[in-house]
């Protein structure tokens, strides 16, 4: 379904289920869905490509159209239902094969029996469209393909335009002939039970009133844009007749394995693994566990907010190391330093992360700085979580994460974080995110992103000026899952990690960072302090 018709379904379940009426109650035709072979694309398409559909892959040069087409072709071509790839004055076939075989999906064995390339360049140059159509039909009837690709179809369009007026602009005659050609092609290829793809270079503004797009059942648009120094690639399923797709733009990346699409809904639509659990994970710092009413509730998200050097990373290490001791695998996503450096620093403090990495119970992900998309980041982390069956995740840090994103994604950072946290907590993992806070001495900032609403709990670390020393204190400022301490506790960073000391007594305005001695002259206030010190766990 196109975007107009998906608004209703957007409120319901997406993914592989169709929103069409159940075939159990109505004897509608069942449209089989072909796997695309492009990771993530089946999810966007609502399960795969409709069999026997007539599709267009459009986009600017270099956006990945041919690679996507090849992935689909190699994923579906079999000796019984081979693929036919017609090349038309686009990239020369020899060069195309030269480059495409660099991708891991390129299976040479399939070229023998399952894939056939046919060059139509001379045919297009020397004949009119009816002759081209006749040639395509002849080969299709001879081969009986399951998949047919025409690359570049734009050349055929230009041919139609040049035949009527010769100016290149075409005119009505050219348009009618082109529409007739496309309709005949669609009709014939569908009758021959082929799923067809026309690949062409189109600009965004060409969608309207284009006869080619009118005939097509599916329209996949690839975009490539440069923002500052970053390149961002996105794709959209503008149209896909007969099935529900995920609307909107989805980022994708091209690697040695071909295209990988990162659906906007990744991790948000699959059934939640999150079970209501009363289990609390120890943070690895006993006093902090006490402040948290016994630890962090399983499946929750915690924000560790504090200035540079306040020990956020070390607390994250405590959390992961404690989990490893308890047999709970973990994932750490780092953005600001390489995993080996990160682990070496943790090892110096006695956290045995290196061993865990070697035995596969810990994965330290270094998410490539620059040009990241949020969806890609979520995908990487979620995949790692599933790979190591992680129970604990540390994202260190959100500031690094933001910097790693392509500039265009930073404007949606709050939404992005929301999606990431939801995707992870739906898996039932417990997440600690660190965030650097610019310290000021007038307020208690929790983060610079106004993202504290995303977290179930917030632990604030900060510097405080006491008795001529710059000391550290922490407090639990929010916890959704029950009672927590309202104490402000001093802590130190030692060579064994974070050691939490006593509650800071006798000061007022501690949260400002520049406290003064409490005015003991007010009996009522002093009484409150005494009461709170005896009851370490307070209700939020």
């Amino acid at each position: 379904m196109n975007r107009k018709t998906t608004s209703k379904s957007a409120r319901g379940t997406r993914g592989t289920r169709s929103r069409m009426p159940s075939t159990a109650t109505r004897s509608n035709v069942v449209i089989r869905k072909l796997k695309t072979g492009v990771p993530g694309l089946d999810e966007v398409l609502g399960g795969g490509l409709p069999e026997y559909s007539f599709n267009i892959i459009a986009g600017p040069p270099g956006s990945g159209k041919t690679t996507m087409a090849h992935q689909i072709m190699f994923a579906n071509a079999t000796p019984e239902k081979p693929a036919l790839y017609f090349t038309v004055l686009g990239e020369p076939a020899i060069k195309m094969l030269r480059y495409q075989q660099q991708f891991s999906f390129f299976d040479q064995a399939k070229l023998d029996s399952s894939i056939r390339f046919v060059n139509l360049s001379e045919m297009v140059l020397k004949n009119d469209l009816s002759a081209v159509l006749a040639e395509i039909i002849k080969v299709v009837e001879e081969v009986g393909p399951g998949i047919v690709m025409v690359d570049s179809f734009r050349t055929v369009v230009r041919k139609a335009q040049s035949m009527n007026g010769g100016s290149g602009s075409g005119g009505e005659g050219g348009e009618v002939e082109l529409q007739g050609f496309v309709q005949s092609l669609a009709l014939h290829l569908t009758s021959w039970q082929a799923t067809t793809f026309l690949i062409g270079e189109y600009a965004e503004g060409e969608v309207r009133d284009n006869p080619v797009f009118t005939v097509a059942d599916g329209l996949f648009w690839l975009y490539q844009s440069t923002e500052r120094n970053s390149t961002v690639r996105k794709m959209q399923v503008i149209k896909c007749r007969g099935q529900e797709t995920v609307p909107g733009l989805h980022t994708f990346r091209t690697t040695g394995d071909g295209l990988q699409v990162f659906p906007r809904t990744f991790g948000l639509t699959a059934p939640s693994d999150k079970k209501r659990s009363t289990h609390r994970h120890s943070t690895g710092v006993p006093e902090l566990d006490t402040m948290l009413g016994g630890g962090i509730a399983a499946g929750q998200s915690v924000l560790l907010a504090g200035p540079s050097g306040s020990g956020k990373t070390i607390l994250g290490n405590h959390f992961i190391a404690e989990g490893l001791k308890a047999g709970e695998p973990g994932v750490i996503a780092v953005f600001e330093e390489l995993p080996n450096e990160y682990v070496a620093r943790a090892t110096k403090m006695g956290f045995k992360l290196d061993e865990a990495r070697k035995n596969g119970t810990l994965e330290v992900l270094y998410l490539r700085p620059l040009d990241l998309s949020v969806d890609e980041t979520v995908n990487e982390i979620v995949t790692a979580v599933k790979r190591v069956k992680a129970k604990r995740v540390v994202i260190d840090s959100l500031v690094g994460f933001e910097l790693a994103l392509a500039p265009g994604f930073r404007t949606d950072f709050r939404e992005s974080l929301y999606r990431m946290v939801v995707a992870l907590t739906r898996l039932g993992v417990t997440v600690i995110s660190t965030v650097e806070v610019e310290e000021d001495f007038t307020s208690l900032g929790l983060s610079n992103y106004a993202i504290s609403f995303l977290s179930d709990s917030i632990i604030r670390l900060r510097y405080v000026s006491l008795d001529g020393q710059l000391r550290r204190m922490l407090m639990v400022v929010k916890m959704r899952s029950g009672k927590h301490s309202i104490d402000t506790r001093e802590y130190e960073i030692t060579n064994k990690g974070v050691v939490i000391g006593e509650r800071l007594r006798g000061y007022q305005a501690l949260t400002s960072g520049i406290p003064g001695p409490w005015d003991w002259g007010h009996a009522s206030t002093a009484g409150t302090v005494d009461h709170m010190s005896k009851g370490p766990i307070g209700a939020r």
Binding site: Y85, T87, P92, A93, I94, K95, L97, R98, Q101, Q108, L111, D112, R116, F117, V118, N119, S121, E122
Partner: protein
């Protein structure tokens, strides 16, 4: 001078021998002159390659192979490539019509063409194309000897 890989030389020799054995007393060119095995090899490759690369694609490859070969085999100086990507004037090359067995210049030309294919599409695809062009050729004849050693 451009070097030709021993593997391509080896395969060229086998293809030419195959064509020599099957072309005796049968293939003739204009005026009844015998068609050299190299011409038959190039034509078989042409049939397979033009399907996916087009006549223009194969023609440019063959022209390049001919140019590179001429430096090594001056006998080829008078040979050209027709617009339909067939060889022009190959029957007139000295020695071409005297012996049934393939000549050195034929081996150079075919090996050069195979080498170009390897350069552009790789050994694996080149062998597949050869298998398509000579479906009756035993598989062991298509594999390069280097591969057999692996």
């Amino acid at each position: 001078m451009n070097s030709i890989s021993p593997a391509s030389r080896d395969l060229a020799r086998r293809l030419l021998a195959w064509e020599s054995a099957r072309g005796k007393n049968s293939a003739t060119g204009p005026g009844g002159t015998p068609v050299p095995p190299a011409s038959r090899v190039c034509n078989k490759l042409r049939r397979v390659l033009t399907t996916f690369a087009g006549i223009a694609g194969f023609r440019s490859l063959l022209t390049r192979a001919l140019t590179l070969s001429t430096a090594r085999a001056p006998e080829l100086k008078g040979v050209g490539v027709n617009p339909d990507a067939t060889l022009l004037g190959i029957e007139n090359v000295e020695g071409g019509k005297k012996k049934a067995a393939a000549q050195e210049w034929e081996e150079v030309l075919v090996a050069q063409l195979l080498d170009l294919l390897v350069t552009f599409v790789g050994e694996g695809l080149m062998q597949q194309l050869v298998r398509q062009a000579w479906p009756d050729l035993p598989a062991g004849q298509v594999r390069s000897r280097n591969q057999d050693k692996l």
